[in-house]
């Protein structure tokens, strides 16, 4: 781990202990409030990857991933917000409005996007229509639907950064990342910026941050769940022994922690790794998040099934992470192509 990412980890831990730990349940129930958003902005987390001249912190990527991991271990929703803002939103805002980036970095303006459309590079399933200087349509299942700025595809190759005319028409309680909220957004706006050929311009940059960013959140989710369950099995007694004394429990948790450390090592050295390794880590770490969070609920017994114990959110979020922020089928095709050198695994 680099010295800077070590420092960041310490700073984020301190921030989370003070601002997130005791409000994690509230975030799940009511969303990330303006106070938390502004605290994230003031501390430089919201614009962590933005250039300092755009109001950002300009930290290196390794430190950013370390930061995401720590946030995810307390609140995966907050980590997801930071990843979306710094990767997809940041890349598009750079082309659309540098002034607004500063407000986004400070937490004064909220920005969101359809993560799946940009993180998978597949043809977007949902898109808005543009004609005669207006952009219109309804987008379903938008994270942070109450945002001020929305980034959405208008065709396979062009995307729009929309600054006004956004209205949430229906809110839903999703499986995952409840802190972001979720809903349908109606768009009718003449205040927007079109980015043509976005795939060529921004896709590589987005994916180079998204792939390890998703891994960082996956490992943070696992870390959070394993921290909770390790504490629980130590204090919880059954049949006159601590749960940790039973071999299936201690072996499973120990093995998970060992796997966790190995993947964390990869994440900490991501800067020196190529895209293929980043993709491999993403596929492994997201699967690992599902395995480790499931074990964490199981060893909590009935208590793990209730939100008060703070474990079930990790389980729910591990599934959303594999779908909202990535496309497993597409990523498997990407990896096959890198391994075999040509298109493969499509039959």
């Amino acid at each position: 781990m680099s010295e800077s990412s070590d420092l960041i980890r310490g700073a984020v831990e301190e921030f989370c202990q003070k601002n997130i730990s005791n409000r994690a349940l509230e975030i799940e129930r009511n969303g990330i409030d303006d106070g938390i958003l502004q605290a994230l902005g003031t501390q430089g987390f919201l614009g962590a990857l933005f250039d300092p001249q755009d109001g950002g912190s300009g930290i290196d990527r390794s430190s950013f991933f370390a930061m995401l991991e720590v946030f995810a271990s307390y609140s995966p929703s907050v980590a997801a917000k930071l990843l979306i803002t710094n990767s997809i939103a940041g890349q598009f805002l750079l082309s659309a409005s540098r002034e607004k980036i500063q407000d986004v970095a400070q937490g004064n303006l909220k920005v969101t996007c359809l993560t799946g459309s940009f993180a998978s590079a597949r043809p977007p399933a949902q898109r808005l229509s543009e004609s005669s200087g207006r952009i219109k349509g309804v987008l379903k299942n938008v994270p942070s639907p109450g945002s001020d700025i929305l980034i959405a595809p208008v065709s396979e190759e062009s995307a729009a950064v929309i600054f006004s005319g956004l209205r949430m028409v229906e809110e839903r309680k999703p499986l995952s990342f409840r802190g972001l909220r979720n809903g349908d957004v109606s768009v009718d706006s003449d205040d927007f910026h079109i980015i043509e050929g976005w795939k060529k311009k921004t896709l590589d940059k987005i994916l180079s941050t998204m792939d390890p960013g998703v891994s960082a959140i996956a490992l943070g989710i696992s870390r959070g769940a394993l921290r909770k369950v390790s504490e629980y099995v130590t204090v919880r007694k059954t049949f006159d022994h601590s749960l940790k004394d039973y071999s299936p429990v201690s072996r499973k948790i120990s093995e998970l922690l060992a796997d966790m450390d190995i993947m964390e090592f990869y994440l900490d050295n991501m800067e020196s790794m190529d895209d293929e390794k980043a993709l491999k880590l993403k596929l492994r770490s997201t699967e690992f998040a599902r395995t480790s969070t499931k074990a964490a609920i199981q060893y909590h017994g009935g208590y793990g099934y209730f939100e008060d114990f703070g474990v079930e959110k990790f389980y729910r979020d591990s599934y959303g992470l594999s779908i909202m922020m990535m496309d497993r089928e597409y990523d498997n095709l990407r990896l096959s192509e890198k391994i075999f050198g040509s298109r493969s695994g499509f039959l």
Binding site: A125, P174, S176, Q298, F306
Partner: protein, 373 residues
């Protein structure tokens, strides 16, 4: 060996499927899940239809499967008002049966089974809530946790400590029928569950609650055996719930793949997806065979505990497996549709009525004691 059910059981399955399709719509399932509320209307309809009848266990088994296939939370809520009734059927006096069992069988009352205590869970014999006999009444002090129907039940079949344990911890436990409106009895609804949110769950607090001695079920000190006998039965029903959940998840996958085909995207149904589909279907079939085998022993009064535990552990893990794989295949459609509720609901199957770990110990210890297949 005949693998076909009788016409009567097939009719029960068809009737339950028909009921589920009309009374448990996705809109209704979403509403009660979101509001975390017991679906009283659906329960009343189910009771009025006479499909919920635990004295006809085979029909009940397939009915549970079909209702949970439509929606696990509602399916369980609609059939759980008699939870614990087998303890009364098998061990209670005729007077207790007449007074308590009849109203629940007729859909006029709801009952609950209260065994688990805070910090208790799997260790049933370690329970601490006491019932002391004084002047012809039992005086109860303590608390119970995670009790299904806890806030809405008219009465509970409750496992309590009536005397200090001797060398064996499970000695000294007895079962009493405790009404929910007694002085000193309070209940707190537990909210914020991951799944099965249409079922009602509560913590029960008992502070000097007085119960007539005539409410003792069977003999004093034999409560542990009665409850373990009940768990052997209820585990078969949990296996049926699990099969229903897995089948429901498979239904979602098949609907999704059908849509892909009809919209000209058949090429996306790769062999990898077909293999996963095949794994889900195979595990469901294996769970059914195991569960029906366990039920067959059970309903012929020759229970084989290890077979029941195999069925419960395997079927519950299959429910979770099917939902997880279904989510992988369906992606966004599953994440933002009704399938996500199945995923949340499925996890409790591996926990309640004996965790998978407990079931595996039951199986292993049977063989270590010389049991054979």
């Amino acid at each position: 060996m005949d693998f076909e059910f009788s016409e009567e059981i097939n009719r029960a399955r068809d009737r339950a499927r028909e009921f589920a399709l009309s009374a448990i719509t996705p809109e209704i399932a979403r509403k009660y899940d979101l509001e975390e509320k017991f679906p009283e209307e659906v329960w009343k309809k189910a009771m009025a239809s006479k499909m919920v009848d635990f004295s006809n266990p085979w029909s009940m088994l397939v009915t549970i499967e079909e209702l949970c296939r439509a929606d696990p939370g509602i399916g369980i809520a609609a059939t759980v008002s008699l939870f614990g009734s087998e303890v009364l059927m098998l061990f209670a006096s005729d007077q207790l049966k007449e007074k308590y069992l009849k109203p629940v069988q007729e859909g006029r009352a709801i009952m609950g089974l209260a065994v688990t205590e805070p910090g208790g869970g799997s260790d049933v014999a370690g329970l601490k809530t006491e019932a002391k006999l004084k002047d012809g009444k039992y005086v109860i002090n303590g608390s119970k946790m995670f009790i299904t129907n806890g806030q809405i039940a008219d009465f509970f079949v409750m496992l309590l400590r009536t005397s200090r344990p001797d060398s064996k911890r499970h000695h000294g436990l007895s079962v009493l029928v405790v009404e929910g409106n007694l002085k000193g009895f309070s209940r707190n609804k537990l909210t914020g569950k991951l799944g099965v949110r249409a079922t009602n769950t509560a913590e029960l607090i008992l502070n000097n609650v007085e119960v007539p001695a005539s409410n003792l079920v069977g003999e004093e000190g034999k409560g542990f055996y009665y409850i373990m006998t009940f768990f052997n039965i209820s585990r078969a029903y949990v296996a049926a719930q699990s099969i229903g959940i897995a089948q429901g998840a498979l239904d979602h996958v098949l609907g999704y793949l059908k849509n892909l085909k009809e919209s000209g995207r058949e090429s996306e149904i790769t062999e990898d997806i077909q293999f996963t589909l095949s794994d889900i279907a195979t595990r469901i079939e294996a769970s059914r065979l195991l569960t029906y085998k366990a039920a067959s022993y059970l309903f012929n009064f020759q229970p084989k505990q290890e077979i029941t535990s195999m069925a419960k552990a395997y079927a519950s893990e299959t429910a979770v497996f099917a939902c997880e794989k279904a989510m992988e295949i369906t992606g966004d459609t599953g994440l933002y549709g009704d399938l996500e509720r199945f995923l949340r609901d499925s996890k409790i199957m591996e926990i309640w009525e004996g965790t998978s770990e407990i079931e595996k110990l039951v199986i292993a210890r049977t063989f270590l004691k010389g049991g054979q297949m």
